[in-house]
C-alpha cells in the first residue's frame, strides 16, 4: 500500500485532479485513469495501486462539478482520501460513487513518511503511527447510499421495490 501525501497542499481542485479539457471526451474508467491527478502529480496515474491512500490539505476537490476524478479514484481502488476538509460537490460525488472520504485535519498533520496508517470505518477512527483520531461518520440516510454500492444501485433498489408494490 502506497500513501500519496499532498497534505501540505490546500485547494487541490478538479482541474488538477482531472483537467477540464478531457471532460467531454473521457467518461469511462479506462479513459479517465491515464489522466488522474495529471496536473498535480504526473507519477500518480502510472503507479497507483489498489488500497492506496491519499492525504490532502483543505478544500480537496474544489471547483467544477466533475465526477471523473471520483470515478477514477474509485476504479483504481483507492481505499480512502484523508483530507483536512473537502469541497461540497466532490464530497457528494464520493458518496454517490461509494468512495470513502475521511475528514481529519489532525490525521493529516500527524502523518509523516513511514508512519503506518490504519482505518476503522465502522467506528470512525483513523490511526496514524501511535495516535488515533475520530472522524465524523455519515448520517444514516446517506450511509444507505454507500451501503447499496452507490447512488445508482440505491436508486435501482428503490425503483424495483416500487415496481413490485404496484
Amino acid at each position: 500500500m502506497t500513501i500519496w501525501f499532498y497534505g501540505n497542499q490546500d485547494g487541490i481542485n478538479t482541474d488538477m485532479l482531472f483537467p477540464g479539457k478531457y471532460t467531454y471526451t473521457c467518461a469511462t474508467a479506462d479513459e479517465i485513469k491515464p489522466h488522474l491527478l495529471e496536473d498535480l502529480d504526473p507519477n500518480f496515474a502510472q503507479s497507483v495501486q489498489k488500497d492506496d491512500l491519499i492525504f490532502a490539505g483543505k478544500n480537496f476537490g474544489c471547483g467544477s462539478s466533475r465526477e471523473q476524478p471520483v470515478l477514477g479514484l474509485k476504479s483504481v481502488g483507492i481505499q480512502a482520501v484523508i483530507a483536512k476538509s473537502f469541497a461540497r460537490i466532490f464530497y457528494r460525488a464520493a458518496i454517490n460513487q461509494g468512495l470513502l472520504l475521511i475528514e481529519s485535519p489532525e490525521a493529516v498533520d500527524a502523518y509523516s513518511p513511514g508512519k503506518p496508517v490504519s482505518i476503522d470505518f465502522i467506528n470512525g477512527r483513523i490511526t496514524v503511527g501511535e495516535d488515533t483520531f475520530g472522524f465524523p461518520t455519515l448520517p444514516e440516510e446517506v450511509t444507505a447510499i454507500r451501503e447499496a454500492g452507490g447512488l445508482l444501485e440505491y436508486t435501482r433498489k428503490f425503483l424495483d421495490s416500487r415496481l413490485k408494490n404496484t
Binding site: 490546500d10 485547494g11 481542485n13 478538479t14 482541474d15 488538477m16 483537467p19 477540464g20 479539457k21 471532460t23 467531454y24 471526451t25 467518461a27 496536473d39 483543505k58 478544500n59 474544489c62 471547483g63 467544477s64 462539478s65 466533475r66 465526477e67 471520483v70 476538509s85 473537502f86 469541497a87 461540497r88 460537490i89 457528494r92 460525488a93 454517490n96 460513487q97 448520517p139 440516510e141 446517506v142 452507490g150 447512488l151 445508482l152 440505491y154 436508486t155 435501482r156 428503490f158 425503483l159 415496481l163
Partner: protein, 420 residues
C-alpha cells in the same frame, strides 16, 4: 424559537416541514434539473434503467448544449447527437440546442429558475440563480442520472453566512470587483457547504450584477449564494412576461441565526484582479499594473451579459486593441448577442479589434477555442483561474471585471480602468 435563514426556510417548505435545523437531512423534489453537454454521459449511465423504469417527468430536465459548440471533434459531435435523440424520444420540452447560449444564462432568460424554487444542475455554477431568490446548487452526473429516474434527492440543511451591503459601487468598479474581494477575504473554502445570503443596500445592484456575484458563490465553496426578491427582481421577470403572481418568493426571518455576519461598504471597493492559480488570490489592480497580457477575454456565464459588453465598449469605443494582445468576445446567449448587435455595442468592440465567438462556453474550459500556449497570460472575466483551466497547464489566467479587461486590451498590459 428563533427564525430561519433563507436556506432553512426554503428547504423546510420544499420538504413539507415547519422547521428544519442545520445538519438535518431532507428529501426534496427539485423544480428543475439542468444538464448540458454532459447529458450524454448522464443518460449513458442509465440507458437500460430508462427502458425499465422510464423518465420521472419530462418537464424536470432542462438541457442546454453549450460547452463545446459547435462540436469540435467526432467525439463531441456524437455526444450532442445522443442528447438530441434522447430529447426527441422522451419529448423533453426545455431543450436548447447550440447557439442559444450558456446554460445558466439560458435558464434565467427562459424563466426556468424562479424565486422560491429549488433548482439543481450538473454544473458547479448552477448557484447563479440565487440572483433571483432561487435555491440552486451543483450536483454530480450520477446524482443527475438518479434524478432523471426518481425526481428526488437529499440535502443537508446548511448553516448560513449573512453578508450585509452598504452604499453603492463607485463608477468603473463593478460587481465582479466586489465578489473577487469577498472571495479573497473569506477564502476558497470560506463558505464550504454553507448558504451565503446577501442583505442590505441591494437596490443599486442590477440582476446582471447579482448573477455575477451568485455565480461565483461556488468559488468560496458555497452551496448556494442568494439575494432577496425586490423591485429589481420583479422588473427583471416583468420583462420576461412573468407575472409576480406566478412565483412565490421566500426570504430569511429577521431573527434568523447565522454562523457569521460580515458587512461591506460597496463605495470602498476598488478594481480587483485575481492572480493564478486560485480565485481567492485577489489583489487590487494597482498591485499588478503593467503586467503584459497575451489574451483578453470578455464573456462567460460570469460576465457575458449586455451590461458587461456595454461597459467594456464605453472604454474601447474609438480605440484599438493593442497589437501585442488579442481580445475575445463571448456573449452569454443569443439574446445578449442580438441586443449588442442592435445597440451598436458589438460594432464598437469588433471595430476595436475584438474577435466574436458563438454564444456558449468557448475558451472558458479549455476544451476548444482560445486555448493558451505555454507561458502565455490571459486576463479574463471568467470565474476560475485554475492551472490548466484554459487548456494549458503552463499558462497563467488572471481574473478581472469587464472594465479592467477592456482597459487592459487597449494597452496590452494590466490597466486600471479608472485611469483610461
Amino acid at each position: 424559537m428563533s427564525g430561519m435563514t433563507f436556506a432553512e426556510k426554503i428547504l423546510a417548505r420544499k420538504a413539507g416541514k415547519t422547521k428544519v435545523v442545520p445538519g438535518q437531512i431532507v428529501f426534496i423534489y427539485p423544480d428543475h434539473l439542468l444538464t448540458h453537454d454532459n447529458t450524454s454521459a448522464i443518460i449513458g449511465k442509465i440507458s437500460k434503467d430508462l427502458e425499465i423504469y422510464g423518465l420521472y417527468n419530462r418537464d424536470l430536465p432542462v438541457i442546454v448544449l453549450d460547452h463545446v459548440i459547435p462540436a469540435s471533434s467526432d467525439k463531441t459531435a456524437k455526444g450532442h447527437h445522443s442528447v438530441r435523440k434522447f430529447v426527441q424520444k422522451y419529448g423533453i420540452r426545455n431543450f436548447f440546442d447550440i447557439g442559444r447560449g450558456i446554460c445558466h444564462q439560458v435558464v434565467l432568460e427562459e424563466g426556468l429558475a424562479l424565486p422560491g424554487q429549488v433548482v439543481v444542475g450538473s454544473d458547479s455554477h448552477t448557484c447563479s440563480y440565487g440572483a433571483v431568490g432561487c435555491f440552486s446548487t451543483g450536483i454530480d452526473r450520477t446524482e443527475a442520472a438518479a434524478l432523471l429516474l426518481t425526481g428526488k434527492t437529499w440535502f443537508k440543511v446548511p448553516i448560513s453566512i449573512k453578508i450585509s451591503l452598504k452604499n453603492r459601487l463607485p463608477a468603473t468598479v463593478s460587481a465582479k470587483d466586489f465578489i473577487l474581494k469577498l472571495i479573497s477575504d473569506i477564502g476558497a473554502d470560506g463558505a464550504d457547504y454553507k448558504s451565503v445570503e446577501f442583505h442590505g443596500a441591494l437596490e443599486a445592484l442590477s440582476i446582471s450584477d447579482r448573477i455575477t456575484i451568485a455565480n461565483m458563490g461556488i468559488e468560496m465553496g458555497a452551496k448556494t449564494a442568494v439575494f432577496p426578491v425586490d423591485e429589481v427582481t420583479e422588473e427583471f421577470f416583468r420583462h420576461l412576461n412573468i407575472d409576480k403572481n406566478s412565483y412565490d418568493p421566500i426570504w430569511a426571518d429577521e431573527d434568523a441565526v447565522y454562523e457569521r455576519c460580515l458587512t461591506y461598504d460597496l463605495s470602498e471597493i476598488v478594481p480587483m484582479v485575481s492572480k493564478p492559480h486560485a480565485v481567492d488570490k485577489g489583489v487590487p489592480v494597482s498591485d499588478v499594473l503593467d503586467l503584459h497580457v497575451d489574451q483578453c477575454f470578455l464573456g462567460t456565464c460570469t460576465n457575458g451579459r449586455v451590461e458587461d459588453f456595454r461597459n467594456a465598449a464605453t472604454l474601447l469605443t474609438g480605440k484599438t486593441v493593442h497589437p501585442d494582445t488579442r481580445l475575445l468576445i463571448l456573449p452569454a446567449s443569443r439574446q445578449v448577442l442580438s441586443e449588442i448587435i442592435h445597440d451598436g455595442t458589438l460594432t464598437a468592440l469588433v471595430e476595436a479589434g475584438g474577435v466574436l465567438l458563438p454564444p456558449g462556453c468557448g475558451p472558458c474550459l479549455g476544451a476548444h477555442q482560445g486555448v493558451l500556449a505555454p507561458g502565455e497570460r490571459c486576463l479574463s472575466t471568467a470565474n476560475r483561474n485554475f492551472k490548466g483551466r484554459m487548456g494549458c497547464p503552463d499558462a497563467e489566467i488572471y481574473l478581472a471585471s469587464p472594465e479592467t479587461v477592456a482597459a487592459s486590451a487597449i494597452y496590452g498590459k494590466i490597466t486600471d480602468p479608472r485611469t483610461v
